[in-house]
């Protein structure tokens, strides 16, 4: 941690807060994955970490490297765009697969209460 000595205090504090907030959201999402009742409820939980959690950690990384190297480093935008685009695609395909499996076994219930 010799490198971080060069960082001004406000930047270190900002990076630390963003890191703690982002990873706390990721942990909350993973705990939801552990706690919630059925698959259709569980599929909502990890998106908390995939959107705002990942966004905060990526922003922290961007701020850290930009101030450390005194030039704008925006590599992390690549990961942010990629995660934003792929998460809905992944989860929609997965939920369609789950609904298909449940329908073929006759255990699928429509969300409105109709069976």
């Amino acid at each position: 941690m010799i490198i971080a000595e060069e960082l001004p205090a406000w930047a270190a504090l900002l990076v630390a807060l963003l890191l703690l907030f982002g990873t706390g959201l990721s942990l909350t999402g993973a705990l939801g994955l552990l706690r919630l009742g059925n698959f259709y409820q569980r599929v909502h939980a990890p998106t908390l970490g995939a959107t705002l959690g990942a966004g905060c950690v990526l922003l922290a990384s961007m701020i850290f490297f930009s101030i450390l190297q005194t030039r704008p480093i925006v590599h992390e935008v690549l990961i942010a765009v990629f995660v934003t685009v792929t998460t809905p695609v992944t989860l929609m395909v997965l939920v369609r697969a789950a609904a298909h499996r449940d329908r073929s076994e006759g255990t699928f219930k429509e969300p409105g209460g109709r069976s």
Binding site: P8, A12, P46, E76, L94, A97
Partner: protein, 93 residues
């Protein structure tokens, strides 16, 4: 002082992410059905990518960025492939 703040926040962040990965791994190993296991795998990949980024901040090198990008790419491709397999019974039709 700034090094202390950053050091402790990085340690706590890595602890949080490791716990999140443990939760996802539990759901992957114990998931009642196949789709729960795939969801656990997807969460595991996402948290591993964030852990790589925190390692990058800790060491101050940008090499970990490439690892994080590769993990995100492979996670997306593998999750979609397994979900497609669950949906159709084959990956590429």
């Amino acid at each position: 002082m700034s090094a202390q703040v950053l050091h402790w926040s990085l340690t706590v962040s890595q602890l949080f992410l490791t716990l999140a990965m443990a939760c996802a791994a539990f759901r992957m190993l114990r998931g009642p059905r196949a789709q729960d296991r795939v969801l656990g795998l997807d969460t595991l990949y996402g948290n591993a990518m964030l852990l790589m980024l925190t390692f990058g901040i800790r060491t101050g090198s940008t090499f970990y960025f490439g690892a994080a990008l590769v993990i995100a790419l492979l996670g997306f491709v593998s999750t979609v492939a397994i979900a497609k397999f669950l949906l159709r019974g084959e990956v590429i039709e």
